[in-house]
Symmetry: C2
Subunit: 336 residues, 2 copies
Amino acid sequence: MRLTDLGEFGAITRLIEMSTRQRMAPGSVDKRGFKLLVDAGDDTAAWHTEVGTELFTTDTMVEGVHFTRETTPWDDLGWKVMAANISDIASMGGDPMFALVTLGMPAETEIEDLDSLYDGMLDLGGRYGVAIVGGDMVRSPTAFITVGLTGVCAGAPMQRSTAKAGDLVAVTGYLGSSAGGLEILLGDFSAPGEPERQLKHAHRRPEPCVSQGATLIQHGVRTAMDISDGLVDDLSKLCQASGVSATLEAQKIPAHPALRHVFPQRYLDLALNGGEDYQLIFVAPAGLMAKVLPALPPPAGVIGELIAGEAGRVTVVDCETGEPVSAASAGWDHFR
Amino acid sequence: MRLTDLGEFGAITRLIEMSTRQRMAPGSVDKRGFKLLVDAGDDTAAWHTEVGTELFTTDTMVEGVHFTRETTPWDDLGWKVMAANISDIASMGGDPMFALVTLGMPAETEIEDLDSLYDGMLDLGGRYGVAIVGGDMVRSPTAFITVGLTGVCAGAPMQRSTAKAGDLVAVTGYLGSSAGGLEILLGDFSAPGEPERQLKHAHRRPEPCVSQGATLIQHGVRTAMDISDGLVDDLSKLCQASGVSATLEAQKIPAHPALRHVFPQRYLDLALNGGEDYQLIFVAPAGLMAKVLPALPPPAGVIGELIAGEAGRVTVVDCETGEPVSAASAGWDHFR
């Protein structure tokens, strides 16, 4: 059996099972006061210490798979790989801290390009207090960048597995803008205007939701994840982890005016299925939701609810007709 | 200017400077009680917490660069990438803890091979209490495996930069066996005997020196690093970091009897320049060395001393003739 048969998430599930079979559940791994709280399968691992809860995540970008040099200059690449990692920390309600950077690079790579890559990483990282404290540099015929990042949060981090039927589902901001920007970069928009520029910027310089994550955890929200692969796909993973279904209302999905302008027929599909916006999905009972939403910047808002049903199923309905909307693609799987 | 012009260590130095320019030295980064102790450029980064000193390292293996499927079966590959990471923690005097595993794999990779890879990682990791708590899986035309690993130690970790002229230089065990084993695996040893088998095992299943690292730090040794690229090359990095030169006595370099048997003409060159044995170099004043050596398993022993001189220079002399021995190659640089 090959990776392409089992798919990314089938393979990950299998390897997580192997990794945890020989030891017990989170809480039982307790090494010198570092007690595992969140095991493989969430946005980050987490362990409790007397100082605070420490978080640990990693994200990788591979040339030809996650980026091409045509659409992603080196400084954008640095920004984006750092954004993906900081976003994982943000989704747990944490504050990013120390990073290790691994560069796999062909020997003919220009030093100036590595400088630009680091400029991008340091630019975004510096805004969130990330210190790059080491890493590894290796030769590789395929260029890749891996960042490992630690973070810290007070108390229990937000997880994917803590949602319940009846909870409301909300997002922190506009979705689909990054995917729209990528289409513009790949396409032939010969006279781009301000909306096109805004969407390209959303693709090139996504902002992780660190302050929103902190607001959520301070208000007692227990369930969140970041949207890296697409709303429907990532919400489906959250529902899978919590054993529930979700119903979303199409008209409530926040799509930026620029996205609606440039893609008047397709903005909903892009908002539902486009990745790399790095907004947060969060889930809470109605009472808590009413308290936390006013503390978040617009357009944070409720987009649907969780219901009892098949674990992982996400349905999008048109609020006016009550009919299901086709959510088209099912997100991003590296191996299918 | 290209990577191949500047070389791996030139490029790393440049990127470390970029990373630290915008912030101050170790000690000055203090985020919520996590205070940076060891910055980029050592075997691991380290930060102080009230619970203990936490360590953070990463190591990568790339197909065609660090391994080929001909000489390294998947389970050996898993063992070796975990060994490289655990060894970095051991060299600081630490105990390894939580790991994140990134797999970059072609879509046609066999699931059974990934199982074997994890078997190897879990086999070695399990012996040292490592818990794999997450990671990332991405498609890549070139297969690569990156492990990020945390660890913990009591008090200040051993570093590369704390050595002084007059200190003695010692190693924990036999050197060159892994390089000898690789030559056997690559060559045509049609009727291999017990010595060949021992060397191949040394290449395929290196043991990180976790207990030796703990013994060293308990006795107050302040300077150590692991030998991943070769004795002369790695000692040169230690001398560079501490601003000293070193003189080694050729006859004192520990070479396993099997290495002397299979490579009677070349064992010294292999012991001086062969990588991936994952023994530790450690440095201490004579009085401390006399106390710590009896606490270590054989053949740990002194191989030379540090002297004032050009930072990073390592000279190997024949004890009988007093003449310098050519140390031949200068270790492993990915990009030269």
